[in-house]
């Protein structure tokens, strides 16, 4: 049997092009494995071959999705893979989205595709129904295990072998249901499950109810000109020097800073310490993340009554869901306490 042709997708960092300063580089393709693709090639040994590696800057893919898409389509047509493997992206949101996009494009072209990322990567929600995603740990320390899981799935999909349920095959649930013939009829299974439940034993439902955590939209402000607004940002904008030591990634804290009497955020007093993008442009003019200059203008004009004296800051970079929810709750407490009516939230 001939070897399975694999095309691998990685970002600019794993391709060795550079970090955040290179996140704007456009798409490229090279023959053979590159970066973590070398690990993949080793795992595939004998059964598959990494014929080409596609890579692109994380910002580019997300900001110029259509252009990136065109390039990816062309590369995939050129190399005709049996399967596409993207990542692993671990907890990186932009990289995860890029992996999801490449896989979704592959599927549109009729090519099986697999990605790997942490279950809390925000791209999971967006792509899980279209793409098989192998779960990974939060950091690159688990590269080998993550890649092994993804490549096992990739080889199965490429070989037209039937793929079993998520729980058995080790990918993240796609929220899809397939029919299968059960060993017992429904009555027997129901009573079995009920008995297990009554005995306090573990049991698996056959019909998990999906949970969508949707928040009902807050009612609109009735009179903007009488409203107090506050700024919240996940852009890591702090007083220069970062006296509180806000983390640049995986933040576990948020801070509040006074903007009372300030007409704008000057580059002499403020900076972004965000570790997930190149902060050069933001640090030349922090108003590019926190639009204080313009908000003051609207405030002076009476578009809204008042900007709260305090702004709330954290770093949204590989954040855990639990922390993000806690930040939101804690900041809400402050907003309610200080009589804030509405929020301008800038997410980087």
């Amino acid at each position: 049997m001939s070897k399975t042709r694999v095309v691998h997708y990685i970002n600019q960092f794993f391709a060795g092009i550079g970090g955040e300063d290179q996140a704007n580089v456009g798409p490229s393709v090279v023959e053979g494995p590159k970066g973590p693709g070398l690990v993949l090639q080793k795992i595939l040994e004998g059964s598959g071959e990494v014929v080409a590696t596609i890579y692109c800057g994380d910002n580019y893919v997300n900001e110029f999705e259509e252009k990136a898409r065109d390039a990816f389509v062309e590369y995939l047509r050129r190399y005709q893979p049996d399967v596409v493997l993207a990542g692993p992206a671990f907890t990186s949101g932009r990289y995860g989205l890029a992996c999801g996009l490449v896989c979704a494009i592959a599927r549109e072209l009729g090519i099986p595709a697999v990605s790997a990322m942490h279950p809390e990567n925000p791209a999971v929600e967006l792509y899980r129904s279209r793409v098989h995603i192998a779960p990974t740990a939060a950091t690159t320390a688990e590269m080998l295990d993550s890649m092994s899981r993804a490549s096992t799935l990739a080889l199965k999909l490429a070989g037209d072998q039937p793929i079993g349920p998520a729980a058995e095959e080790g990918y993240l649930s796609r929220g899809l249901r397939y029919s299968q013939v059960a060993s017992d009829d429904v009555g027997v299974r129901t009573v079995d499950m009920l008995m297990k439940r009554l005995r306090g034993e573990d049991f698996d439902t056959e019909w998990p109810v999906p949970t969508y955590d949707r928040v009902r939209p807050a009612p609109p402000l009735e009179a903007l000109e009488q409203s107090t607004l506050a700024i919240v940002t996940s852009g890591g904008v702090v007083p220069k020097g970062n006296r509180d030591g806000l983390q640049s990634a995986r933040a576990t804290r948020w801070y509040s800073y006074s903007i009372a009497g300030r007409p704008s955020l000057s580059s002499e007093d403020w900076e972004s310490i965000h570790g997930g993008f190149d902060t050069t442009h933001a640090n030349r003019d922090p108003n590019r993340i926190v639009p204080l200059d313009v908000l003051r203008e609207f405030e002076a004009r009476g578009a809204f009554a008042r900007l709260a004296d305090t702004m709330y800051v954290t770093t949204g970079n590989q954040s855990g869901l639990e922390n993000a929810i806690r930040f939101g709750e804690e900041i809400s407490d402050e907003l309610v306490k200080t009589g804030v009516d509405g929020v301008i939230f800038v997410a980087t």
Partner: protein, 80 residues
């Protein structure tokens, strides 16, 4: 975070350069920004035009705060 604040009944205008993320996660009022490292800025523009651009985005954000939202309100940033 934006969702938790809206849960308390405070409307949140979320400006983000990667709209698919907040759309997937379930934010309610989303305004497309210019770029991940500078959602409300554009270093490619001369300073006065950049400020006009920022005003436009903030003005859109303010509008969403007074808009009744049924499902999700998404205002994408039209091409560069």
């Amino acid at each position: 975070m934006a969702k938790e604040i809206e849960r308390r009944g405070i409307p949140v205008a979320l400006i983000s350069a990667i709209a698919p993320l907040p759309i997937a996660v379930g934010a309610n009022r989303i305004i497309g920004g210019r770029a991940i490292p500078h959602p409300v800025g554009d270093p490619a523009l001369p300073p006065d035009e950049e400020r006009t651009f920022r005003k436009m985005l903030v003005s859109r954000a303010l509008d969403t705060l007074t808009t009744e939202v049924q499902d999700q309100l998404v205002l994408p940033l039209e091409g560069p």
